[in-house]
Structures are given as structure tokens and as C-alpha cells.
Amino acid sequence: MTNFPLRAIPVVLLGSLLGAHAALAETAQIGVPSNGALIFRVNCASCHGLDGRGQGSLAPQLAVPPGDLRDPAFLSTRSDDALLTVISRGGAALKRSKTMPAFPTISDLDRWDLVAFLRQGRLKVADFFPNARFFTAKSYPLDKNAQQRLTALFGRPLTAAESRMTVVTAYGKRPTGDAVGPELVAQDPVSLDRLNPKEKTGYLVFVDLPAGTEMMSYGVALAKDGSITRIASETGLGKPAFDLPYQGFVGQGQKGQPGSLKPGKTPPASAQAFKNAYARILESIGLFDKEERDRHWAD
């Protein structure tokens, strides 16, 4: 309780209002998650594990380890259709792991329930940009220069996990009455050409941060200028108070200034972890911006 940041109160209240607003614009469900859970248990848990983290009984001996289906960064780079295709036709259908078999015996509608189950409770773009029309997602390995800057800032070399980040970028505004959430735009030149940089609304990056004694995946949303607009974990989506330790950072930050964050009343260990994460976030969105500038140099 002593760590309760008073400055977070208006942020939490604002978040509640935004949440209420998002609930008003009802997004259509893609299936029945509880039915998907049963299908997952019967067909998928052997490899992906009962919790979907990829630690099923068959996993250790597979040539290609099963993916972590609870990783929001992984899920944000896969559209619902892509997940459905992999379930229906196997990993080879999308040039992914051939170890993932096809499940033609599961009906189409049951497969959609499975996709709904995979999405249920996971952090997603609509939680941070409920009115966005499009988004794109790409995993970036931090380049040599970025790694050198971060190594100097952290005072230690980056771990393998730290040197790669997935950047989600939201665009446009969903038309009134549209019941479908933000649409993932594939990473190919023709599709990306649909995205107008002037309509960019912000970025979303997923980072692991301390939550009590554990590490937890958090989504950090930023405005176009790099300022933080929302920080939320899966647990925090349902219980905003869970994310209070980091709410003091909302409203802070700017592109090109990784050291600009003021920790306020955030516990020192958590504050340092967040500041490091923010520095990595700025480097990764810098890579995205560079790619985007290159794509639109002639506009």
C-alpha cells in the first residue's frame, strides 16, 4: 500500500472510462472459447501443454519445439485466419514448422472455437487501441548499434531474449458500427501499402516485467511521439489495480529520450526494469519507423 502512486489514480479512472467506451463498441466474438478449450485439451495439449506454453509431454522430443501460445507477441503476429489455416492444414501450409500436423477432422466451426480459446484472456491490440482499424506486427532483432547503446545504458550485455522485440503499430479509425476488431495487415509490400503513416495512432510492444515475485508479460502502448499511453498485463485487464505499480509511467516518455522516465513511487527494482524495457522499446520502434520511412520515401 505504501507503494500506491497517487498520480496513478486519474490514470486508472481514465482507463476505466476508456474500458467502458470500448465495451460500448461491441466487437463480435469469433467463437466459443469454452468449447475451444475442450478441443485444445484433446487435440493440442500433448505438444503445446495443458496451459499452451509449449511444454506438453511430447514437446521435449520434437525436432521443432511447439510455440508458446500464450505469448501475446507471438499471437499478435498471427491473424485469426492464419491460426485457423495452421490448425486446418498444418504448419507447412504457411511455411512454418512441418512438425505441426493438420487437423482436418476438427470441423471449421470447432476450429474457430479453438482460435477463440487461444485469444481468450491474452493481451491484444484491441485492448490498447480499441478504435484502430488496422495494425501490423513484426519481430525485430535489435541491430548492432542499438545493442551497443543499450549495453552502455544497462551496464551489461543484452540477453538473447532482450535483443529481439515485436512491434505492433496501429493505424486508422474503425468506422462506426463495424463489429470487427482491428485487422492485421500482413508483412508484404502490397499489403503494407494500405497503411498511411499519417494515420498511425501508436505503437504496442510486449515486455516481461516483474510482478511481485514473478515475471509477467505486459503490453506497453505508446503514442506516435513515444509517450506511454497505457500499461497493462493480462491480469490487469480484469483487475486494473494489479498494474498500479507501473501506472506512474503513463504519460511520460518521448522518442529519442530513453532516460527521461521518472520512477515516482514505483518500487526501485520494478522502475529499473521498466526503464530498461522502455529503452529497448524505443530502439525497436526506431527500427520500425526507419522501415516505414524507407517504404514511403517517394510519397
Binding site: E26, T27, A28, Q29, I30, G31, V32, S34, N35, L38, I39, R41, V42, N43, A45, S46, C47, S57, L58, Q61, L62, A63, V64, S97, K98, T99, P101, T105, I106, S107, D108, L109, D110, W112, D113, P175, T176, G177, D178, A179, V180
Partner: protein, 369 residues
């Protein structure tokens, strides 16, 4: 009361699973579907049918309504038995009527049949296929809409109906949220699953997902009520699987049923919803059906397959002895020792030898992936 609650537990435990895998294996194919069993509008079911024990559910199903009953009668619960005119019907018609009434009885676990409602709105026809015909609270229900433009004069290619394709549609279920309708692989056919939360006649309104006008219609489905209360002209008929028909190996069919029962057992273990004993009783019989049915892709490996199948048969009866917290452990144990072992070779194809289970060497094909 106890009996009815117990029945509901069995029904919901089994039904949830059945309504997922098994239902979806069936088909809604207007072109080759069997002739519908049409519920006559005026004559009600013959008294003999209503008295037959098979037409009743343990939860005292409401009477099948004929004559001039309407949806309002259902919601107010004042459905009265209509006079019988059985002399007007041939024995065949009576038999079909009895069969349809049985299929339409709320709570009947009819995984092979569906109710089809027909509606025309402006120049569009909507056929709504509901499975099971009378949806059950807490169980997965399937709604499939067949949407076609009515062509007048008829088109030489399409006839008088042209399927509406390429649309992104949503369905808003009264008291149940909004769902995306997914194309089912049949032109003009869009489907969804949902779980009803309350008995009664529920409105289902479909519309374009982007909010544009057109293709909007409001239909009703029966939850825990006879489908005839929604529309007197409803068809109750045997359904067939969605998608193209294909030959199914016997082992595939058996494994589909096993998966359904297995999912139901996990559901009981995790939620306490359903009757584990009833489901566990089905296991040994299904396990027995795997014997001698090696998948065709590995037909030369029949001896090893039968060895695993026999081991499966022996251990399948152990599940029925487990209950409460032990059930979860028993299911996990069996899945790890029996299911995964066999699936690693004969379903996933990631190894050729599981004699040293749980250790195994990846197959050569797997190593090159």
C-alpha cells in the same frame, strides 16, 4: 427431481462434447440433403406418440404444439393439446410425424438432426439450420445461415436462387452476445457456435459486420422449447457434415467419438459438470473398436498398432474407477501413457518406435523438418 438433475448432468456432460465434434461432422447440404420431415401445421401429433415414453424427456418436455399455437403460447406456457386428426394421415405420415416430434423434443440428444427455418425478406432468402433442433442451455449450439438472392426471372446458371458469397456477417443473439459468422465452405452458407444461457425463444439478428445496410434479418431459435413454436413450417431432418463429403477410415470415426467422450470426461474433471461414470462406460467399447483398425498410412505396422490398442483396451476400464480429484490424475496419466504414445506414431507421425516410451527417437522424416 433428483432423477431429472442427474439426467441433466449426464446430458450436459456428454452433450457439450457431442455438440462440438460430432455435430460439426455432419452436414448442411441443401443439394443432397435427405427429404425434410415437415411438421404439419394443422394436425397435432397423434396421442399415441405423445404417450410413448421415448417422446418424453426426464425433464418433462413441453407438449409438441400444433394447430394454431404461436410463439406467445410458449413464453406464457399455455400450450394446450390440440384436437387430433390422425385419421387424415397415412401410417407413413404418422410415423414421420412421430419421428419428427421425437427429434424436436427439447433435451433430446439428437446429434444427427437439425431444425431448418425458412424466411424471405425483400429479395433475399434465409434458411437457418439449427443443431440440435431444440438448443440446450449450457451446451454448444450450431447455427448455419444459408443466404441466397431470389432471382426473378430465374438465372440460367443459378436458377431462382443465387448464393450470397464473400460477405462478412455478424449475428447478435438475444442475451448471448455478438458473433462473427464464418463461411462454412458451401457457397452462401455462414455458421457460428454459441451457448444459450436461458430457455425460451431467442432472437438472432444478422447483419453485415461493417454496419452497412442489407442482409439484415431477425430470426428466432428455440432453446429448451419445441422448434415448432418458432415456426409451424420448420423442417426437422437428419443433417450431414459441413464441407465436402469424404471417405472416413474406421479408425478416424472411432477416434472422433473417443475424442468426444474424452473431452466430456475432461470437462467433468475440471468443472464437475456432467456424469463421468456414464461417459467412462463408453470408453472400453470404443477402445475395443480400435483393435485391427490400423490407419491405412501405416498399414504395414499393424502388429505394433494392435499391441498398443490392446494395452489401451485394458487400461480404458481404469477410468471408470476414478472419481473426483482422482479423475483428473487418471485422465492425465492415460493421456500421457496411452493416447500420446499411440498418437506419436499413428497420428502425428513424429516417430516410428515408442517401445521405450516416454523416450523415443524422432523419425527420419521428422529430423529433416
Amino acid at each position: 427431481m433428483w432423477r431429472s438433475r442427474r439426467w441433466m448432468a449426464v446430458a450436459s456432460g456428454l452433450g457439450l462434447a457431442l455438440s462440438t465434434a460430432a455435430l460439426a461432422q455432419r452436414v448442411v447440404r441443401p443439394s443432397d440433403a435427405p427429404p425434410p420431415i415437415v411438421i404439419p401445421v394443422a394436425p397435432p401429433p397423434a396421442p399415441e406418440v405423445k404417450k410413448a415414453p421415448t417422446a418424453k424427456t426426464p425433464t418433462e418436455a413441453p407438449p409438441v404444439v400444433g394447430g394454431n399455437k404461436t410463439a406467445d403460447d410458449v413464453t406464457t406456457g399455455v400450450a394446450k393439446p390440440a384436437p387430433a386428426f390422425k385419421d387424415d394421415l397415412t401410417p407413413e405420415e404418422l410415423a414421420r410425424q412421430a419421428a419428427a416430434a421425437k427429434l424436436a423434443t427439447p433435451g433430446t440428444k439428437c446429434v444427427d438432426c437439425e431444425a431448418v427455418y425458412h424466411r424471405k425478406f425483400e429479395s433475399t432468402s434465409f434458411n437457418l439450420h439449427v443443431r440440435p433442433p431444440s438448443l440446450v442451455v449450457g451446451d454448444v449450439g450450431q447455427l448455419v445461415f444459408e443466404i441466397a438472392d431470389i432471382l426473378d426471372p430465374p438465372d440460367p446458371e443459378f436458377g431462382d436462387r443465387r448464393p450470397v458469397v464473400g460477405e462478412q456477417l455478424v449475428a447478435k443473439v438475444e442475451g448471448g452476445g455478438t458473433y462473427l459468422l464464418h463461411p462454412t465452405g458451401i457457397a452462401g452458407s455462414y455458421g457460428m457456435h454459441f451457448i444459450p444461457t436461458a430457455d425460451g425463444l431467442r432472437h438472432v439478428a444478422i447483419a453485415r459486420a461493417d454496419g452497412r445496410a442489407g442482409l439484415s434479418v431477425d430470426l428466432q431459435v428455440a432453446v429448451g422449447r419445441p422448434p415448432q413454436l418458432v415456426s409451424k413450417a420448420v423442417d426437422i431432418r437428419e443433417a450431414q457434415p459441413l464441407g465436402a463429403k469424404q471417405a472416413v477410415e474406421p479408425i478416424r470415426a472411432t477416434m472422433t467419438e473417443l475424442g468426444t467422450v474424452w473431452g466430456g470426461l475432461w470437462n467433468v474433471a475440471l468443472t464437475g459438470h456432467g456424469d463421468a461414470a456414464a461417459l467412462a462406460k463408453l470408453l472400453p467399447g470404443l477402445a475395443q473398436e480400435t483393435l485391427g483398425h490400423v490407419p491405412q498410412a501405416r498399414a504395414t505396422d499393424r502388429a505394433n498398432f494392435d499391441l498398443l490398442a490392446r494395452s489401451f483396451v485394458q487400461s480404458s476400464s481404469d477410468i471408470s474407477k476414478a472419481s473426483g480429484p482422482d479423475l483428473k490424475a487418471a485422465l492425465a496419466k492415460m493421456q500421457g501413457q496411452q493416447c500420446d504414445r499411440c498418437h506419436a506414431v499413428y497420428f502425428y507421425g513424429i516417430t516410428d518406435d515408442v517401445s521405450d516410451w516416454p523416450r523415443f527417437e524422432p523419425s527420419k522424416a521428422e529430423e529433416t523438418r
